[in-house]
Symmetry: C2
Subunit: 375 residues, 2 copies
């Protein structure tokens, strides 16, 4: 292996695949990035066995010249810090004997001890043909709107994943819940009818990794699935993720059918008010909302610290007066995740879940359970 | 107490005095900021008993109106987060019964439980008349050039401070060392002859706090001292620091008298080369420098990771060839602290301290002890 490559391009590619490098692993090869130089380009790969990322840089006279093909695994941590400090705009990578990689740039020469590429796990390819195509922007937005709502506790591993199911219209429903809040988004695919798509649960962390990879990308993503894994493919990148096995709980009955009080207001102003009021909320982040016909008030208090009272402006408030308490942090997550101008909040009662969605749209949809308080 | 004040101005003042608030203190009043409203202005004060900061905001129709004088101590953490979130540009602070402070801004009203100002420690004033005046820019530069070199270990508390002594010309010498490296700067005062100034040791952390306070300030600082404390006064701020008692070690004999090899080069390019080469230095951060008549080479290596070799460009290199090893982190600190274009490095031998100073100037001066290696 002997290549010349643009430093800028190599930095970006190393950064992308590094998301899959495990922080600690008993398998030495997993702490590395596999470099494979072929005549048509350079491929970088990293995996923690649960998620695998490949990134390809096509050969081209400006950015990448492949003088000699070959492959090596280099320690990700050192590779990343060396490349980012290289003094020249071009970097030469040259494999010497015993997997020693020479890294030359300007006046400096590094020799980095690499590992045998045969020790790097092989990536299983899916060729069962079950796939859909989704615009990268839609996929990224869905991840942002839904994935935050998963559980962070490992007591129920299924809830750390995002459920993805298809319906008879050929739509995909992404759903996440931790038992207190729920986030859901339905997106259409190019198919007009039922897909050959099993019910799957995708680890939320891998979707977050995917979201980072898709940043600033605007192309169609091919999404392929099997029983055990899902693969997201762009033109030059692919992310292979394991799936969480088990049956996702049925959450259809959680969505309130009726609505006693409806509130519409700018999402940003509610978010800002909740941020201000939660400063004096107790450690449990409980804040109280009082809805009356012409008045919306948020309050919170902590013993021996103080209390706070804010009147919040709104666009419309209809229905029964109501007092309700909820966790400020969970509400902030929803308002940030929804990423919309105006939000509709629907209340059924003080102890009934709050239903939220962007005003005028059905999706994404959120549910937040209230907190029972003595106030 | 009842005042109206610009939110921006209050945020800045709270941030400044917060440097003196201890992270944890058994004395409740110390976790607070004392607010004192007089007809001519508002004073904010904070202390951890070792360092005390006062900041005054003068009354003025635009930024501060004092409706009623008074004083209260408010919890620094809550005050700071509340003020930074206030929605309007003006904030009203109004003391209610039992040290409850109302904070009103736009549509929000906070009530924060304060403490009795009588429980806040009294600041001792110095009026022995022993003082000098220094430009804030010179004082800030000296702190940056010297204070980093103190010891971070508490085994010899004296070395965690910066020694400050006067000489017969009326100059002040600031010096810091941790036993391996030494930094020294001499600055003139307005006095032409000996000052009535005892040898003192100032805690480096307090000088760093002072440096933050002086940021973007360009005025003369009055520096007053007594046996037990030093006070730095600007027009609207003052920082009172305790002193470290004891005798600072005599370091005059550490400065090499002769020089066998002299190297002159741009400080930035040496710093960048050391940063690159130290990427493959072992945990002890040892790097090696080879000086020959027409060649300057830096190398380092770590077993099982790799090695690195860089030829560094220089302006002049005279004297004997020499190989020397040193701690890369300590050298980087010196090159950053010196804050100059060109640096002169003087070597006496492989096992003798390296003397460094900005080319063409005597001050600041640095000494770095080499490391004995088997390479």
């Amino acid at each position: 292996m002997w290549i010349e490559i643009s430093r800028e391009l190599l930095i970006k590619a190393v950064k992308k695949v590094s998301k899959a490098v495990p922080a600690n692993s008993p398998v030495a090869a997993l702490s590395g990035i596999k470099l494979t130089a072929r005549h048509n380009g350079l491929t970088l790969s990293a995996t923690n066995l649960h998620v695998t990322i490949h990134n390809e840089i096509p050969a081209d006279t400006q950015c990448l010249t492949v003088h000699r093909t070959g492959s090596v695994v280099v320690p990700a941590k050192y590779m990343s810090s060396i490349i980012s400090k290289c003094p020249a705009e071009q970097v030469t990578l040259r494999l010497e004997k015993q997997f020693m990689l020479g890294i030359l740039s300007g006046s400096i020469t590094y020799r980095l001890c690499g590992m045998n590429p045969d020790e790097f796990p092989h990536t299983e390819e899916l060729d069962n043909g079950r796939s859909v195509h989704l615009p990268s922007v839609v996929l990224q937005q869905t991840i942002r709107q839904v994935a935050f709502a998963v559980s962070t506790s490992e007591t129920r591993p299924i809830l750390t994943g995002v459920s993805c199911e298809s319906d008879e219209r050929g739509h995909l429903r992404f759903l996440a819940t931790d038992g207190v809040r729920l986030a859901m988004n339905v997106i259409p695919t190019a198919q007009q009818r039922g897909l050959d798509w099993p019910d799957i649960i995708i680890p939320a962390q891998h979707l977050q990794d995917l979201s980072h990879l898709l940043h600033e990308l605007d192309e169609m993503i091919e999404v392929c699935i099997s029983e055990r894994q899902i693969v997201f493919k762009t033109r030059y990148m692919s992310l292979h993720s394991s799936l969480i096995s088990g049956n996702y709980p049925n959450v259809g009955n959680l969505i309130p059918a009726s609505c006693a009080t409806e509130l519409v207001l700018p999402a940003k102003s509610l978010l800002a008010a909740i941020e201000r009021v939660s400063l004096l909320a107790s450690d449990e982040q409980i804040i109280h909302m009082q809805l009356a016909c012409d008045n919306l008030v948020l309050t919170s208090q902590t013993a021996e610290i103080g209390d706070v009272y804010e009147e919040v402006a709104f666009l419309s408030l209809t229905g029964e007066p109501l007092n309700i308490s909820f966790n400020a942090k969970l509400m902030r997550d929803i308002l940030r995740g929804a990423d919309c101008d105006h939000m509709t909040l629907k209340f059924t009662g003080s102890l009934k879940p709050i239903l939220l969605h962007p005003t005028g749209r059905d999706s994404p949809q959120y549910i937040l359970s209230p907190i029972r308080t003595s106030v």
